[in-house]
Symmetry: C2
Subunit: 599 residues, 2 copies
Amino acid sequence: LFNVGFEPLGRRGSCPEGQSLLDCARLLDVDIVSLCGGVSTCKRCVVQVVSGSVSPPTPEDMASFTEEELKNNYRLACTTYPESDVKILVPPESLSAPQRTQVEGLDLQVEPDPFVRGLKVHVQAPSLDAPESDDQSLWVALQNGHGIGPGQIDLKVQQDLSVRLRDQSWKAAVALRETEIVAIGTHAARWLGMAVDIGTTKVAAYLVDMETGKVRASMGMMNPQISYGEDVVARIYTAGKSEENARKMQALLVDALNGTAASLCEEIGADPSHVVDAVVVGNTAIHHLFLKLPVRQLGMSPYVPAVRSAVDIKARDLGLHLAPGAYVHLLPNIAGYVGADHVAMLLATEMDAQEGIILALDIGTNTEICLNCRGTMKSVSCASGPAFEGAHIQFGMRAAAGAIEHVRLSGEQLEIQTIGGEPPVGICGSGLLDVIAQMLNNNVIDRSGRMNAHPLVRTRDGRKEFVLVERSDNGDITVSQRDVRELQVAKAAIRIGIQALLQDAGITERDIEKVIIAGAFGTFIDVESAVTIGMLPPLPLERFSQVGNAAGTGARMALISRSRRRAAQRIASQDGYIELASIPDFNRKFAAASSMSWQ
Amino acid sequence: LFNVGFEPLGRRGSCPEGQSLLDCARLLDVDIVSLCGGVSTCKRCVVQVVSGSVSPPTPEDMASFTEEELKNNYRLACTTYPESDVKILVPPESLSAPQRTQVEGLDLQVEPDPFVRGLKVHVQAPSLDAPESDDQSLWVALQNGHGIGPGQIDLKVQQDLSVRLRDQSWKAAVALRETEIVAIGTHAARWLGMAVDIGTTKVAAYLVDMETGKVRASMGMMNPQISYGEDVVARIYTAGKSEENARKMQALLVDALNGTAASLCEEIGADPSHVVDAVVVGNTAIHHLFLKLPVRQLGMSPYVPAVRSAVDIKARDLGLHLAPGAYVHLLPNIAGYVGADHVAMLLATEMDAQEGIILALDIGTNTEICLNCRGTMKSVSCASGPAFEGAHIQFGMRAAAGAIEHVRLSGEQLEIQTIGGEPPVGICGSGLLDVIAQMLNNNVIDRSGRMNAHPLVRTRDGRKEFVLVERSDNGDITVSQRDVRELQVAKAAIRIGIQALLQDAGITERDIEKVIIAGAFGTFIDVESAVTIGMLPPLPLERFSQVGNAAGTGARMALISRSRRRAAQRIASQDGYIELASIPDFNRKFAAASSMSWQ
């Protein structure tokens, strides 16, 4: 055992020999960024060894750091092993940190008709002449007061019922889920529900009044699993490596949701024990990791989910601390890479009820696209990669303060806008879309993506790069030829997904009457830029609409409306799925779609 | 902390200061008998302090032991506190030990139609052309193979499903409970069920083949809660004293049932993970303690159960290790002292379908009696006390080897029969009934219960006693005047219960056409003796039948038959309940019923 300390967090503890610094960090709950899941390809888990000795630099370290940096003990945490007690400095860039998260979505237009409803009762106290049991007395009161016949009482609720009825002088409020009592409180109880959209990167949570259906509080945060890999493929790999990883990844999420429930409740002066229902959506991998379902088969052809059906499970069985008998409902999945979050998005945008030819996209590390062509819905999933989240981009970063999010270029005149108006520190996804569209418009790159000569283009180490920001202290912020290529791959993946759907339906892009762009990233992009670079089809801009976190909205709908929850089932079973890997001639099409001229 | 060791068991451990020796014994899982629940009235928890120092003798110790015994450090464990590390000798009489337990009951005449059935399936493996999820593939196979539509899959089963299907080449056996899959195995799987009758003193368990309904193995054992009080009133008191006691009492029972399931399965070469359903019955207090339901209200007027309805709960939620998704079903209760075991007895004896006027009794520490008077069923509960289990009887003991179980007296000629033919060590309940009936027949006692002069009656310390066995070594085994009084109280309780039912129905004892005697104790009694002493009504002997453990039989019926489980619900709701405490003029009637002449 070595004593390992992480600064500036001041987290320290004993770690077994043979564990990498990244493993140690996870053991001590230090959220070090690891986009690749710890296989030393992303080179993001940079740390500095302040004291103690560690294993010698690896080839990966040599490739990642300058001589000077190596001398200053900079290392990749994933390939470095302590050889004594050590103190480690984690640079801010290597830490997962709260960022801008989109929680706002479509306005709900749903009449509340929740699965769980609140009912006040006056219970008849038992006597020697009528020595009725406490459960029966409660059902009699529900029958007399509300015309509700007897059902079940959750055992945890039942364990509390007898004492509570007597303490509350036989007055109580009941939370009834269909036929089961899932919580009991005083007449003052105000029952709440929680809707959660767990993204690969971000989590959005909403606390909802179950009676009015109104959001009482909401918050966004990072998915804490991010230290186990930035995309789902990395997380599937990490979870498959050991039971312990899968267990920890689930526990991290559950802890985060418990913390979120507590914070949201505190914000409105309520208690998580009043949260009587929850709806959770996420992509299929996140869904499976959350339920501790196996994910290996998700990572291997034919990429099938363990579970497609909607799941109802007691919150406590997952380790969630809500009302004693509360359930968590997970919307159904459609396929290995088209998950419950996609269903929620389709629910929120009412894709099944749309007329004409409508396209809906949720753009992210994985982009799910649905085409409703005159009543027939099909979906496809494209691995658009983490470029939009800033990964694999030289100065890429997630949408945090200081990220360049919008860019305008006219001739040599460059205007940039950063998140929060902070001094620029990197480029986030929407900024990258913008800058590449502007480079294209200004002939800085040609249609194939190759960089031309331009006053802002320079050559360093034999490689061309476009200078976005000149900084004297930290070095310049630039866009490299390779960054352009990364974006080309990402946009090609999306465009080819759209094409596959159109081809399947026997229509062309021009036939599309409406394009709905959902998701946090989709909210912030400049649609014109996305069209310019060929990520989205060249349609009149008025056909596009950006709807924010539609998956979160769908989760809220399923929380407060029984008919919407049923609709989600219907949507999931109606929505056809096209597996891109089974498209003939895929590689040629993909190459073509990478071109900026591919319209 | 003191180090406390219990001999001859060799159990030792650290116990906090201020804990009685009885508390220490419980802490270390030493099953010391405590009939009163540790309030120093039963004087059964006799121990000998072998080394170390303890608190000085209490008045209770003085009253319980001779000078000599006190000098030899005999003490009551419940009022003695260690004052240093101690070593304690527990005499065999003070230990709860396995005893003769009746597991045989009525023969089942029930067509198996269980809630959980086994189905073999061949699942279609997914492909890129048909990338179906594993849950959907399974439901498709169930539809195609058995015409069963989609339902739910228990999450624990689901967590195992994907790997299992692939390991088993897409062949599987499914245990389906109504619409939910609760276990999955290979085609060789043979699904089992477990029926358990938890008595206050004894537990009977049956392992059943779910397909044939046949008992594959069965066993009886002591209820390990016995160290927390011999009757339910003592246990209610102990459980009410602290959460920790209630928790431990539940854990003891769960551990015992887990051990039982494992033993029964081992006996037939099976595994508890194949036990896909369980039915548990017990009296209301036992039922509540098993489910960690509050019991305080059971001990206070109007003595109402927390739960009357049948309960279905995942076995794992109770800590039981059966099949991953298995449920435990608890039959409904009727009243605070008429529990699910009574319902099971009524189910097994088909009391609801009987014609005419039928009486059924389950005699025990608590005796439940049901009268079916031409289609109207009512039940009553009488606190017959633990005399039948040997408590409060000078030489009383439970039905273990060496217990005198049958006695014949003609003149001065005495014949005794012991369990197992062992040298006599005490008198069990059936022996006590016999000897008192024989004393009555031979005028050793008169109708009021008073002992007359007789060659076998002697006076010791001014008290009369009847000498059953003369022993040179351990002292004689005798029946005291007080023992006779104890039995009078017990039999009066039962008889007055019968009377209350008859009076309510407006009939007399002579009208009773059939008397069914259920329960372990009831199996072994001599009915003639019971009639002689006035415990049972004076009816022709052919009207009586002894049916063994009918509660266990009822539990098995509910395990293997859906219609019988529904019938139990019907019986529980149809059966009326008479609260003895609300009978007018109860005390006078009770006094009258105590007389041996009260017929």
